[in-house]
Amino acid sequence: MRNRLLLLFFPFMAAYLIFLILPIVRILTFNSFSFLVGDASSGILASIYYTYLIALAVAVISVLLALPYSFVMARRNSVPYRIADSLVEIPIMIPSTVVGIMILITFAPQMPVGSAIARIFPGYTFQDSLFAVIITLLFVSSAYSIRIVGVSYRQEILRYEEEAMTLGISDSKSFLLLSVPMLIKPMARGIVLSWARAISAVGSLLIVAYYIFPSFTQLAGVFIYSQFLGGGLPDAAASSSILIITGIIAMAILRAMGGRNAAVY
């Protein structure tokens, strides 16, 4: 029976994997290697560097926010808290360009929140700033960290903390000495996912930060989009290939670091 099911399901599994792999293979083989080398001087490498760096910063901020968020939510089960918790997933379903518009009409200096910030920080600008990029990417990518850390904490780790408390250890000590080390692995997973989501954001960045002033840097997704509009498919495909290759390497490094950090004791 089990083998029959295996035979039945295998083609679906294989078809799905081919569906995933085929476009990746296609873009990696679309241009010649020499064309890729030539495209490396187009500015894509610098763009990728800044993109990864900013995405990593955003992912780390997401995970740091996930810790206190999970701590509170794991201890509150009333309806208002459950409603608030369900809001976390909303950014995932909102189209990226809509996110850009939402962020812009919230944080631009002439808007309510933006004007409040401008009163505290005179000369505050939002559009095309690094701050705008970070806020926007945080909005679209933080849900992944929040969910991974929150679910791990609530379903796997909290009971160890509760056990420690019955041994006389205070809640803050139990959380810091027991739960936080146990959360390293889910935090690493959260960083990888939030980082990957932040890198893939384009539509929202087109609205809030086409360039990042004053360096005129474009994040990778925007850079490739502008290449596609200006230089056509070959240039955009070549830069995409470089982004994918470096992305696979970077993700492997992040995963390896997460695996090592999981063994904390």
Binding site: A164, M165, T166, Y265
Partner: protein, 318 residues
Amino acid sequence: MQLSIRGLKYRRGSFALSVEHLDLPSGKHFIMGPNGSGKTTLLKNVCGILRPDSGSILLDGVPSEDRKSWERHVAYIPQDLLLFPGMSVEKNLMFPVRHAGGSLEIFHDMVKSMGLEDILQRRADQISGGQAQRVAVARAVISAPSLLLMDEPLSMQDQSARIWILSRLDDLMKKYSFSIIYVTHDQSDLDFGYDSVTFMDAGHITESVTSLSQLQEASSVAMLHYGNMVRINGNYYLASDESIGFSDSGGYGYRWWKSPDYSVLLASIGGEEYFIKTSRTPDGKYLVLNSGLLKPLRHESMQQEDKNSSRPVQRDMM
């Protein structure tokens, strides 16, 4: 520690725990009941993992329902033990010493008495189930509780290993002055003596008995069966029809009840009371145990202790 509960109510989803009145003085108390009867929920309310919706939990007369769990001195051992994964056994045991009011003296004592010397440096998630249960009990005792809640932590043990831990627990309870509330499905655990047995069903306490005569009259008695375990000079034996005799001149004091198929003896041996079931009808004033025909209960750690002990099994009970 004395536990008193008044009007405790706790509801989550379709399950409701309701304990109108429960008084458990210092000592060893058992809670029994079918799955889903609220035993674990009651223990979690007592130790502070769960907060009751209403009612009072008095620990030594002090209202504690609003006290933090780490302020109650009530240690809890769950069925899945919850040893801290990734830490060594030693770090698990030392955790309440380093970060709370645990006792280093008890740590040394527990490591020795529970036979944990050889596994101290091993990771807690890489030891056997039986070893993990000993570590969990040791860690709870090291935290110096006034009340120890045990939620079937030994249910996965084979009988002799469970007896080995339970017998030490009794000694530790006296040595370090804590009380025990022990949830169990295994009626033979009662053979180790008890101060009360509380029966629960559907979130309520149905009965609470404190003596054998009450137990005989309790409607929940059908939940019990009688093991034939006896403890003599620190070692455990199974009594059988062949090893049991009766005499009018000397032996152990006992009481007995006749059921349609067998007799139940309540025998007082070495100051502790045991249930012994036999097909024989008592025909003498005293119970006599033939040590040569008693079946010793063995465990690797018990054997180790036997090597260190020169005390023989009593021969004068013949």
